[in-house]
């Protein structure tokens, strides 16, 4: 009972904050709402017994990435109207199509999760020879998901190199 109450309260908070993020006219406020949103999600993870994930959520998203968002937002000239921030070359149609595709995909996943038969939620838990939340996570990442994990890190590396190339000044 208490858990359900907490869950629904949190859900309302998360959704409410998400709406606030996109409706607030002030960008800095919007980023702050985003941080609060992430913190609430972290609490949700704690309810799911995923403390490690919760802590990482706070550390990486709230404490790291969004700080950089804020960094950028603070440097953007806020005196200009939102219209001026629009890129005149943006491709509205393609964007619409892409977001439509993402929506469809989401709907598909949800539909699939309802239709397929219920299987034990975490199969790896039995397979892994280790005990505990963090250890299991590490075991999974370095066995079953090793290749996606490495691919993701290479992707990040590429992104980093790209960012450096873009930001470097011609001297």
């Amino acid at each position: 009972m208490a858990e359900a109450l907490a869950f629904y309260t949190l859900s309302v908070l998360i959704l409410g904050l998400a709406v606030a993020v996109i409706t607030t006219p002030n960008t800095v406020h919007s980023v702050v709402f985003l941080v609060l949103n992430f913190l609430c999600v972290a609490v949700l993870y704690v309810f799911l017994q995923a403390e490690f994930l919760a802590v990482i959520q706070v550390l990486v998203y709230a404490g790291g990435i969004v700080v950089l968002y804020l960094f950028v937002v603070m440097l953007v000239n806020l005196g200009r109207s939102p219209e001026e921030h629009q890129d005149p070359r943006r491709l509205g149609l393609i964007g619409l199509g892409l977001s439509g595709a993402v929506l469809l995909e989401l709907a598909g996943i949800i539909a699939y999760s309802y239709t397929r038969e219920q299987s034990p939620p975490v199969t790896a838990a039995q397979a892994s020879p280790v005990q505990g939340n963090i250890e299991e996570l590490g075991w999974l990442l370095y066995t079953d998901y090793l290749i996606p994990f490495e691919v993701a890190s290479v992707l990040l590396l590429v992104a980093m190199v790209g960012a450096i190339v873009l930001a470097r000044r011609e001297s």
Binding site: V35, E51, A62, V67
Partner: protein, 332 residues
């Protein structure tokens, strides 16, 4: 009911008060120590040897007018000091001040990560304070602060990984117990990591020689230029609370927490007569003193030099340390 709610609440209340009181006396200690380093006496007027200065200062700050600049963003301006103080206090939840369960509020299995992640929230206080003041010096300071804190957070976290590897656990209590089992404080096992964490800790708490975000001589006080009265005091509290946290973390990770020296040598067992929490506070005090001592001695780094130190020196060493630790762990 009593076990799960009343006792933890009592502990929290005691801890909060203890932290806040010790912070006020930290300021006195800092003034006194720096004064002695500079062949002065420090505060001498309020109470015997100026002891009551620690009480007079907060009273003054509370009574002062609390000014909000007209052009400031009111909501963020009010929120910023709170954001910076709360994480600094929250992390005390997982700091084990003694061996007994009485001396810590909780022991969670991701304790160390919890501390890192919660302190990383504190940077918002500084950034938002700088931005919300709508003033140029604070803005510059908050830009410096965000870059500095993120960079050093990476360095510190990387360094801690090698400690976690050595201990095999993320729990603060577990790390101390691991040191007890191995019979050796990790300060001797991981000396490189200790130095890195100490340097990173100085930078994370904006202490000299890394006090760029509040460099008085350059930025007229930095991010809290526009703050006065109690809101300013909150920033002050946060800074000193963070200092205490870093000292506590260093004590736990590298100097055996509440353990007596040489926990494996039975001949020294008589040292156990001294309660564990006294050992803890004694060690913590050494580091707090060290922080103040450094402030009295060293000039300030420049912003670009600080970033260079963080990215080009500390982080590579930290990564190298992880590799060496990993190899040692496998080989031994």
């Amino acid at each position: 009911m009593i076990e799960t709610i009343v006792i933890p609440l009592l502990k929290i209340a005691v801890l909060l008060n203890a932290v806040l009181v010790s912070v006020t006396f930290m300021t006195l200690l800092e003034r006194k120590v720096i004064a002695w380093a500079q062949s002065r006496l420090g505060p001498m007027r309020v109470g015997p040897y100026g002891v009551l200065q620690a009480i007079a200062d907060p009273i003054k700050l509370i009574l002062k007018e609390d000014i909000t600049p007209v052009k400031a963003d009111r909501m963020m301006f009010t929120l910023a000091p709170i954001i910076s103080l709360v994480p600094a206090l929250v992390v005390f939840a997982v700091v084990p001040f003694g061996g007994d369960e009485l001396f810590y509020i909780t022991d969670i299995n991701v304790g160390l990560l919890f501390i890192i992640s919660v302190t990383s929230i504190g940077v918002y206080g500084i950034i938002l304070a700088g931005w919300a003041s709508n003033s140029k010096y604070p803005l510059l300071a908050s830009l410096r602060a965000s870059a500095q804190l993120i960079s050093y957070e990476i360095a510190v976290t990387m360094t801690l990984v090698s400690v976690i590897l050595t201990a095999g656990t993320l729990s603060m209590v577990g790390i101390v117990q691991a040191q007890q089992d191995s019979g050796l404080w990790y300060g001797f096992v991981q000396p490189v990591a200790f130095v890195l964490v100490l340097i990173g800790g100085l930078a994370e708490t904006n202490r000299a020689p890394f006090d760029m975000p509040e460099a008085e001589q350059e930025l007229t006080g930095g991010f809290h230029t526009e703050y006065s009265g109690m809101r300013f005091a909150l920033f002050f509290l946060a800074e000193y609370a963070n200092m205490i946290v870093i000292s506590a973390v260093v004590t736990v990770l590298f100097w055996g927490g509440w353990l007596r020296p040489f926990p494996s040598i039975d001949a020294l067992a008589f040292l156990d007569l001294i309660p564990s929490w006294i050992w803890f506070f004694g060690k913590m005090f050494v580091f707090l003193y060290l922080f103040i001592w450094i402030r009295a001695t060293l000039p300030r780094y420049r912003y670009d030099q600080l970033m260079r130190l963080g990215w080009k020196v500390l982080i590579p060493i930290a990564i190298g340390n992880i590799v060496v630790t990993g190899i040692a762990k496998v080989v031994l």
